[in-house]
């Protein structure tokens, strides 16, 4: 990796459609890891500083791409940065922004901006990885601050840190939580990607799948489990779409294409 005069790699933070909660989590992680500031030089972080440098090597991107005009910004970042990291569910999955995609776009614009709808540019919300190549992902809504520190360390050592591909249930069992499905609460634990230390079930709320689904999830078995917990089809579907609407729609589209080919 190219280095700066002081030997520290230059890092920049960018955001697109998001709540900036992940960048705030980054700021919070400095409370306990002030030494991170010794390892890198932050040249751009609009949320926290005025200075603005364009010669960064590592770019962290929070948020989804929701307008055609965002694409150009993303291309520029990709061109400059040696390493691009998607920060959080909006960048990684599309996240809650992609709930918009479940409605016709014109209807969505008219609902919020009425007869002024044409003033506001928008298109289907998509993960950053659908627009540019992404080298690493820090999942979650918001990101886990310890995982952020681990990923930064790995990137600085030129390694990539694999994110867990086992389900949240594994971490939840290790914490000896009572299974929420037994209480009839919707929980995506069996099919959702771990790495959050099962924080939502630990605080009494079922997993919402904010880190995405594991590879090859057994969705039929998952549906059976949710149905056994007396959840309606609508409740089950709404759990799956909360953070993964983009992926659910893509999968449906692929299935349709496969069906048409037959």
């Amino acid at each position: 990796m190219s280095e700066t005069t002081n030997g520290k790699p230059k890092v920049a933070f960018f955001d697109f459609a998001c709540c900036e909660g992940c960048q705030l989590t980054v700021v919070d992680s400095l409370q306990t890891h002030l030494d991170l500031l010794d390892a890198v030089e932050i040249v751009q972080f609009r949320e926290a500083m005025t200075e603005k440098g364009e010669d960064y090597q590592i770019a962290f991107i929070e948020g989804s791409c929701t307008r055609k005009s965002d694409e150009e910004r993303l291309f520029k970042i990709r061109e400059q940065a040696a390493i691009v990291v998607a920060l959080g569910a909006c960048a990684h999955l599309g996240g809650v922004n992609a709930l918009k995609n479940l409605h016709p776009l014109n209807d969505v614009r008219k609902w919020v901006y009425g007869d002024k709808a044409d003033w506001y540019e928008t298109y289907k919300a998509r993960p950053i990885g659908e627009v540019i190549d992404v080298d690493a992902v820090i999942p979650g809504c918001p990101i886990d601050r310890e995982e952020f520190v681990r990923v930064v360390k790995a990137v600085l050592m030129g390694k990539s840190l694999p994110i867990p591909d086992y389900p949240v249930c594994v971490e939840c069992k290790l914490k000896e939580n009572v299974c929420l499905l037994l209480e009839g609460k919707p929980c995506l634990g069996p099919v959702a990607r771990a790495g959050c230390d099962a924080i939502c079930p630990t605080y009494g709320d079922g997993c919402e799948g904010c880190r995405g689904l594991i590879p090859n999830p057994n969705e039929n078995a998952m549906n059976d489990v949710l149905a056994e917990a007396k959840l309606t089809v609508e409740e089950i579907m709404s759990r799956f779409t909360m953070f993964n609407a983009y992926q659910m729609q893509e999968r449906e589209r692929e299935a349709q294409v496969a069906e048409e080919r037959k």
């Binding site: 955001d15 459609a17 998001c18 709540c19 900036e20 909660g21 992940c22 960048q23 705030l24 989590t25 700021v27 919070d28 409370q31 306990t32 002030l34 500031l37 932050i42 972080f45 609009r46 949320e47 926290a48 500083m49 005025t50 200075e51 929701t66 307008r67 005009s69 150009e72 996240g95 809650v96 922004n97 709930l99 918009k100 479940l102 409605h103 209807d107 969505v108 614009r109 609902w111 919020v112 901006y113 009425g114 002024k116 003033w119 506001y120 540019e121 928008t122 809504c141 918001p142 924080i199 939502c200 630990t202 605080y203 009494g204 709320d205 919402e208 609508e234 409740e235 709404s238 909360m242």
Partner: protein, 429 residues
């Protein structure tokens, strides 16, 4: 300086999130405004079709800084719609959690975002070297407030245990006692904070305007109450549209609002001006040290009001914990809900000002209509009026100084367009 006509709506969208545009020609102001160019996210449209229990979890994602505020306003809207009455314990825990968020947000704004302006640096980072005790104090209070939120809701951004009718997880009495000790310890940090802020050279700028906030007679309220204004108006929260009167403006993805005048202001200064009597005595002392009394018309002192509120929230949190410990934590579950076709409004005074959520549900508890009005939108017209009033007073100064003053004015509002500050590009066209 030449005259230029620019289709600002397009130019700035490429630029980023919020811009100041200034055009002065031979001493005449042609343009002076603040633009919001954040990508619209359409929450109100896409929560339609979602079940009632998801609404607070989805709308929390509107904002990473005031996630607890959005969750609380959302839950109160749903509870008012479904006629769910939260228990006294729930009410106390929500207030305590809310105080955590107010402190967290205010310390971020006053220390990380505003203080660098006065200390002549571009961010908090160089202060680690030059003003280490100040930074360490900020980090300590920030961590305290974050831990307070996590103790109750699992984390601050985005709270987990908050549910319609109660909490899905409760803090232990030991956790509450430990937290109380830390809050008591933070009193000294608050004294230092007020002492520091009393020395800062706040710009001398006043413009009369209307201040809007929630009000309760018996407490300095952040959750529920009536809508009041310094122009003497009072409304029940269901009538919020009579105050907000939203409209679209071409150079902003945030809608603007106005009430009795061309603009009004919400936030810490508005609460301070409307609810000074309900502040904790120690917070009133802090205000005196800052030379502040209601009605204060200096927008820059919104940050001073935030410091006063931090003192209040530390003190009130200690009192709430005492009450919770006296009562003992009851192992309650969230209350049962009976679904029906209904509508409800929830209102909270979040760090940046009064926030409204309004939902309509069908008989299956599915959301069919939603409206959220956030504080930053309500402040947009007032901010622009302030800029137009401030510019003539300072435009003979060097351009860099004018730029800094205008940036500081915008930062004083603690805008949450993309949640914070230091994101401004000032264009002298």
């Amino acid at each position: 300086m030449t005259t230029m006509k620019i289709d600002v709506h397009h130019v700035t969208r490429v630029e980023g999130h919020g811009d100041i545009v200034v055009d002065v020609e031979k001493g005449e102001i042609k343009e002076c405004r603040f633009e919001v160019v954040e990508a619209p996210r359409f929450f109100e449209a896409f929560v339609r079709g979602r079940p009632y229990h998801e609404l607070s979890h989805i709308t929390s994602r509107i904002c990473g800084i005031c996630a607890v505020g959005h969750s609380t306003a959302s839950l109160r809207a749903t509870e008012n719609a479904l006629e769910v009455e939260p228990s006294e314990q729930t009410v106390l825990l929500r207030k305590l959690l809310f105080h955590g968020e107010i402190i967290d947000s205010h310390v971020l704004h006053t220390y990380y975002l505003v203080a660098p302006d006065f200390l002549g640096v571009g961010s908090v980072v160089p202060l680690v070297e030059t003003h280490r005790p100040v930074v360490e104090r900020a980090l300590k209070v920030k961590k305290l407030s974050g831990d307070l939120c996590a103790m109750i809701a699992g984390r601050h951004t985005h709270p987990i245990a908050m549910a319609v009718g109660g909490f899905t997880h409760l803090p232990t009495e030991k956790e509450l006692r430990d937290m109380k000790a830390r809050l008591e310890d933070a009193r000294a940090d608050m004294d230092e904070t007020i002492a520091l802020f009393a020395t800062l050279p706040w710009p001398d700028f006043e413009r009369e305007t209307e201040y809007v906030s929630l009000k309760k007679d018996d407490e300095y309220t952040f959750i529920d109450g009536e809508i009041v204004t310094t122009d003497g108006f009072t409304y029940p929260i269901q009538d919020y549209r009579k105050v907000t009167n939203e409209e679209c403006v071409p150079y902003s993805t945030a809608k603007w609002t106005h009430h009795n005048r061309e603009s009004y202001m919400v936030g810490a200064l508005a609460r301070f001006n409307n609810n000074f009597d309900q502040l904790h005595p120690r917070a009133k002392e802090a205000a005196a040290k800052l030379g502040m009394e209601p009605i204060c018309y200096n927008t820059f002192l919104n940050s001073g009001a935030q410091a006063v509120e931090m003192v209040h929230c530390i003190e009130d949190s200690i009192e709430i914990i005492d009450e919770l410990l006296t009562r003992g934590i009851q192992p309650e579950k969230p209350q049962d809900v009976e679904l029906k076709a209904c509508e409800g409004v929830g209102a909270c005074d979040v760090p940046r000002g009064i926030l409204f959520h309004n939902y309509v549900y069908d008989e299956n508890g599915i959301c069919t209509e939603a409206n959220c009005i956030i504080p930053t939108n309500q402040n947009m017209a007032n901010l622009n009026a302030d800029m137009k009033a401030l510019l003539p007073q300072i435009m003979d100064k060097p351009q860099d100084e004018v730029r800094l003053m205008l940036e500081m004015l915008v930062r004083a509002y603690d805008p949450c367009i993309s949640c914070s500050a230091h994101f401004l590009t000032v264009k002298f066209v």
